[in-house]
């Protein structure tokens, strides 16, 4: 029987810089910051060999890009929240893992490439996550982009390729998704002390998703991804992909101990820090509507088949 990759736990966390740069401007930001720090302690105690990050604020176009610079170093400033301050960073990246992940992507039909350039602009979400979860670089990390055109099949396969790489290198991995829940922010500047979720509808949907997370129903959330996108995601990209990637990477089931450590507003969007630890118990798998995918076949040359 095939050995399973050793994924110690998964973390879902928000990309906004407030927990990093201004945690005391709102009690909710502080709760998020404290939850990041709890996750950091658990990562340090876990014996993990690698932290693998999928960031929704790193969009790619040419396939799936994987950070491979051994020590990316820069000072980043957020496009919207530049007035909160700069984010200097210096990360330790597992280049060997990055290369393996790229190879595993290619074996599953994905177009993928590593990036290793001085000054490459690592995104706000990845920086916030790695600076708070792994501030001393005790554990090597790797970051993968979110292709702006990718949909479900491609993202599921990207997650499976991550599993392949983790298994192949016999790593003990913590996997991290950087994403909001509802992502509609206020379109004007606000007093941070008055921050709240943008609308009651967003708040209700977020709480329903958090119920699922709390029950460890990750695969169910993955199956609901299109509904979530339609209901509470501003349509910057074609789909809500982080749940697909996280579920596919962690094994496509509902067998987790889910912990919602914090749920707070970040300039109107829904920010949550969640941990999912694989367990024996399960609420059981539900009836799933969409096919599983093992290999990505691209656009199948739909436009060149002269079907019109």
């Amino acid at each position: 029987m095939d050995e399973e990759p050793e994924i110690l736990f998964g973390i879902y966390c928000p990309p906004h810089p407030q927990p990093l740069l201004s945690p005391d401007e709102n009690s909710g930001y502080r709760k998020l910051r404290d939850s990041f720090e709890l996750c950091k302690s658990r990562i340090e105690e876990s014996g993990a060999d690698i932290i693998l990050v999928y960031s929704t604020t790193w969009p790619s176009i040419v396939g799936h890009q994987i950070q491979a610079h051994p020590n990316p170093t820069w000072t980043h400033v957020d496009d919207d929240f530049h007035y909160l301050g700069s984010m200097p960073y210096s990360f330790k990246i597992d280049t060997e893992f990055a290369n393996k992940y790229m190879e595993c992507c290619k074996e599953r039909g994905l177009h993928s490439r590593t990036v290793s350039y001085d000054g490459f602009p690592i995104d706000t979400g990845s920086i916030v996550a790695l600076k708070l979860l792994n501030p001393e670089n005790k554990i090597p990390a790797c970051i993968v982009s979110s292709n702006m055109y990718a949909n479900r099949a491609e993202t599921i396969v990207l997650g499976k390729a991550a599993r392949d790489a983790i298994k192949s290198q016999k790593k003990k991995a913590v996997v991290v998704v950087v994403s909001s829940l509802s992502n509609r922010m206020f379109t004007e500047h606000i007093d941070p002390s008055e921050d709240r979720i943008h609308s009651a509808k967003d708040d209700e949907w977020n709480k329903k998703i958090l119920e699922f997370f709390g029950d460890g129903r990750l695969e169910d959330i993955s199956q609901l991804s299109r509904d979530i996108h339609n209901q509470i995601r501003v349509s910057k990209v074609v789909a809500y992909k982080p749940a697909w990637w996280l579920a596919a990477t962690m094994g496509q089931h509902n067998n987790y101990d889910g912990e919602v450590l914090a749920y707070e507003a970040l300039h109107g969007s829904g920010g949550a820090v969640i941990m999912l630890t694989p367990s024996k118990g399960s609420v059981g798998d539900k009836e799933f509507d969409e096919d599983d995918v093992e290999y990505y076949h691209g656009d199948r040359e739909v436009l060149s088949k002269e079907i019109i």
Binding site: W58, G63, D79, V115, D118, H189
Partner: protein
């Protein structure tokens, strides 16, 4: 003080490929050429600009994306390296940019008075986006004029392309008022492609022109429709159909640049000067200019 004026409006697409293909000393990557139709068009327009008297370039960029209002660069100097997040293999450009902060402040104030949410960007570590750098480099490789970069507020994401059109138009009118009050002569730059569907793979040699073509014919037909209207001087009509064009071709007009520039110029009824059209990694790119001075206005292509 005499009234300020807009002396030229330029549609200046920013695929980093064109800078890459030029091999300027500021860029670390090396190319064997490529995308000559666009580059030669840019050279022609850059030569025209050399004969125009102006004080500053004001550029509206899709690659400084803001969701909380419209932001303006607000420090006099920015010096750093810009690495394209999508094409880092092509674009790693060391820049040293001067900003006309007074003009930026005036435009910001005028926009705020018009009810638009605004913010000055004063963080010295801020990295100027590659859209600004690409368009400005191609139009003025000497970088001997100050610029103002305006962020693109993503109304099309939050609301609709129609709302984007309204808001970008209001911003354009406010900027025009500020320019008039400033007494300065200003070149406006709307930095973007037309149709904007990319290929998701790249050829081993990115400048291999045997691999370059528009993503699909529908994109091309739409792009040509816009070029035709521009030639006919029907810019109000162009802006009226921008929401549909944007939706049909995933166009980069979604950021509002063209609408902003046309509103600032009062929706020209004279012909646009067409300098070149070419696809870059599947997207449709047009270089065009609107010259309010009938004595220097030309038929280029």
């Amino acid at each position: 003080m005499s009234k300020g004026e807009i002396v030229l409006g330029c549609l200046a697409p920013h695929p980093p490929h064109v800078v890459y293909a030029e091999n300027p000393e500021q860029n670390e990557a090396f190319a064997e050429g490529g995308w000559e139709t666009l580059r030669w068009g840019y050279h022609r327009l850059a030569r025209k600009l050399k004969n125009i008297d102006y004080d500053a370039m004001v550029i509206f960029t899709p690659h400084w994306q803001t969701y909380i209002g419209t932001h303006f660069l607000g420090l006099p100097k920015f010096k750093s390296k810009s690495v394209d997040p999508v094409f880092p293999n092509l674009f790693r450009y060391n820049y040293d940019i001067s900003v006309d902060v007074d003009l930026a402040e005036e435009m910001r104030s005028a926009a705020a008075e018009a009810g638009i949410i605004t913010k000055m960007m004063r963080n010295p570590d801020f990295r100027v986006d590659y859209g600004t750098i690409t368009s400005c480099h191609m139009l003025n490789p000497e970088w001997d004029k100050p610029i103002v970069t305006i962020s693109s507020n993503r109304n099309a994401h939050y609301y609709s392309a129609e709302v984007m059109n309204e808001q970008a138009g209001a911003l354009g009118e406010a900027c025009a008022k500020a320019i008039e009050n400033s007494g300065k002569k200003v070149v406006l730059i709307s930095s973007h492609s037309l149709s904007h569907r990319h290929f998701v793979t790249e050829s081993p040699l990115p400048e291999d022109m045997s691999r370059e073509h528009i993503y699909n014919h529908s994109q091309y037909v739409w792009d040509m429709k816009l070029v035709e209207l521009m030639r006919e001087g029907k810019m109000r009509e162009v802006i009226d159909i921008i929401p549909e064009f944007t939706e049909q071709t995933i166009a980069e007009t979604e950021a509002g640049g063209l609408t902003w520039m046309m509103a600032a110029m009062g929706f020209p009824e004279f012909s646009a000067e067409i300098y070149g059209y070419q696809s870059v990694i599947g997207t449709g790119n047009l270089i065009a200019a609107w010259d309010p001075n009938s004595k220097t206005r030309e038929i280029v292509l």
